[in-house]
Symmetry: C2
Subunit: 195 residues, 2 copies
């Protein structure tokens, strides 16, 4: 079981000794997930925080009228969870599904608490992760509020070019807050203009 990507990720946030890094990743367990398999579903509490070693995920909500709204994509070196469910340990409202055959490193909330309690430095790691996540969501919110559909798509292309090929278009559309049909038209407009 190769935990190096997670070690490298943590080291990029906070410098750790080799021993510290080993201690940090120790409670994480590998989990393999097949494409289309769900790792979180509404009604069940999301007990793990998961780091993607390989593959791709999508978290989304389904409204009463059946529409899907994508909150997050995650590929290698990203985290996935229904964050509200995970930190408050109450039932999830989101689905999280594998978009490809994938491998995760996951930790339970209880183990995470132990990790944070065991070391000031580990507490710092989680603090920084949350702060960066929060800063990220502020940027996303602002883009959503201030840009029209086409500009949001352009922005996504620019910031996450490596996601575009790996996520289905209807999922991307629902992440960007528009319909599949409209995203299709935007793409069409653009590729026609380019030539």
């Amino acid at each position: 079981m190769n935990k190096d990507p997670l070690k490298n990720y943590v080291q990029s946030l906070v410098p750790l000794t080799d021993d510290e890094a080993d201690a940090f990743v120790a409670p994480f367990e590998e989990r393999r997930v097949k494409k289309k398999q769900f790792i979180v579903q509404p009604g069940f509490t999301n007990r793990h925080r998961a780091f993607v070693l390989e593959g791709a995920f999508r978290s989304y909500a389904v409204t009463p009228d059946g529409q899907e709204h994508t909150l997050q994509f995650a590929i290698e070196n990203w985290w996935v969870s229904d964050f509200n469910s995970y930190i408050y340990q109450h039932p999830a409202t989101l689905f999280i599904v594998a978009l490809e055959d994938s491998t995760l490193l996951q930790i339970t909330r209880v183990q995470e608490e132990a990790l944070k309690a065991s070391s000031h430095t580990f507490e710092t790691v989680f603090r920084i992760m949350a702060e960066k996540g929060l800063a990220f969501e502020h940027r996303r919110l602002l883009i959503n509020l201030s840009h029209d559909a086409e500009a949001r798509y352009e922005n996504f292309l620019l910031n996450f070019p490596n996601f575009v090929q790996r996520v289905p278009q209807y999922a991307l559309a629902s992440y960007l807050g528009m319909t599949t049909e409209y995203l299709s038209r935007i793409r069409n407009r653009r590729t026609r203009q380019e030539s």
Copy 2:
């Protein structure tokens, strides 16, 4: 200078001894701000994290075409900052303005780092603040993606009834992602139906 509200706030996140609570709030300085005064402006780095003792604030971005987009409101017991500017210490993109004569408790980024370094427990405080903030923004994002204008307004009324009377309607509209005119129509529709 009364730092009790901040002490109580911190204690509500993590239990602290009186001495610890005193140490935590020590580096915070009081600042009084008049209505319409700016505490953050684009181009200048946001050097402080501020806790509202009294009054109300609004953070917003202005797009090239002159439209304003409100990211956050803050009243008593809330924090305000251009979070991206504050944590990365690079120039702000937001304005933050006082909606009323207000009093803040503010700490610089450097002092905050010292506070976190001095105590595992204080690090935990900031970790929890960031996590709760992140969970909050996830909920907001989902509402923005999945609800139409009227439902977003209803939702705001329900969750933040005490903000409604204190923020100008054009600011609320831009927070909810609609025009002032449309919010006015929604309110009108609703009050007519109620009677």
